[in-house]
Amino acid sequence: MFKKTTNTPVIAAATALLLVTAGCTATGTGKSGSANAEAEALAEQLVFAADGFYQDQPTQEGTTGRVRLTQDETQKICSAVARNGKRIDAQTAEKVRSLALASIKYPEGGIKLGDWKKGRELAWSGFGFRTAHNPDKHETREPGATCYNCHQLATDRTGGSIGPSLTGFGKQRGTGEEVLKYAYDMIYNPHASFPCTNMPRFGANGLLTEQQIADVMAYLLDPESLVNK
């Protein structure tokens, strides 16, 4: 039924899969909705296929494309939740939350605010960790925090709306212990407060250093920061 192909292992694999499942897959087209186990298995094969993504792509952290594509537990759980399209159930949420809480490390001297001006430039910068056709050179420029991609912050620059507006964040919440911890946790691993959120785990995934987190927090909370003017 299928033509023999020489240099396409995925097709071969897909074919094998198909021969097993051809009889039981639905034939309807369009938005069939919930993907089945066969689709999941094939997707995993395609993600790691030698002729799909550039598996050997070097990364800034010294790993490869393959490592970037490999999911951790939180990513696995949250992918399934997103595909399912329903609200996350309480048990799954608790699991994701506990993974997040276990990941958070606090600075030795306690949580402090850094330099809001540095934080402002970090929040604005979308540079860092991009690879593909034009890898970001971290040797020449510090990776940014990309907050403006998703959030409105100080209103003199246009921010995105995937996340809520953070304009006036510090003015509204103050700088008490609890607020400091909440903001720190949100940046370090937001799944502690919002299981399966779309916001990245900037601390847990090694995207920002301790100092950078302190600077971004200052941008959010320092009364002098433009966010709070």
């Binding site: 993504f53 970037r68 999911q71 690879t131």
Partner: protein, 278 residues
Amino acid sequence: MLKKTLLALPVALLLADTAGAAPAPEEVLQKLIDDSNSPYLTQSQQNLIIMPDNPALFVADEGEELFKQARGPNNVSLEGCDFGKGPGVLEGAYVEMPRYFADTGRVMDLEARLVHCMTTLQGFASDDKPVKSRHGSGSDMMKLQTYIAMQSNGMPWNPSQKHPMEKALRDAGEVMFYRRAGPMDFSCATCHTQTGKRIRASVLPNVHESHEWTKAISWPAERVGQHNVRSSQHRLRGCLYQMRYPNIKPGSDTAMALFLFWTDAARGQPAILPDLKR
């Protein structure tokens, strides 16, 4: 030829008056806008105004010439190439791709099919410039893609799901669309499953709203900010870059899975070809 007509007159009006004639791309878009209330479709009034003079129309004209020219070591035109509806049949071919091709045993999109015909039919080597150079209005590949895709303007997306491999890849593509990975935990769904959300100033299309998604996948399109006609493959690369993923090899089953899912998500909605984007 078409470009001269378009430049000479407000051709949209002319075409609308001609019974049975296909609407111009900007009319297809205008109709979608009139029938919906989409912040994605309406984000640039300016772009809508310049669409009748879309630079992609010139690129398509050059593509038509290239298509009909005898070229390559075998000195034949691409009129013998089968894009799924028989050799040389271009009308409506693009809105049914990617699709399974029995002669290669693979699911192929327009770019992959062009590579196949340019190498087998015309005899180019895969690293000859016409095959290898894939990006930019000056490349043969973009000229040909724009011309061929345009022959499906206004037609409903209708990717084939008859062959089991098409169905399996589409379903795997759906899984991949929701699959989070990378240092920022992004999946396509992070940015493309809500309506009216923005990354900075860019309004994002929602995969669940087929009237938005048809514009999202209407490539080739002139990227106004880049002064170049771009392909689906180029768009995918851009999003993968922002996701901090490695790139996907063009023509791979992995890419075909994503393209089959994304085309299926616009099923039934008219294609805007060529389109013009920010």
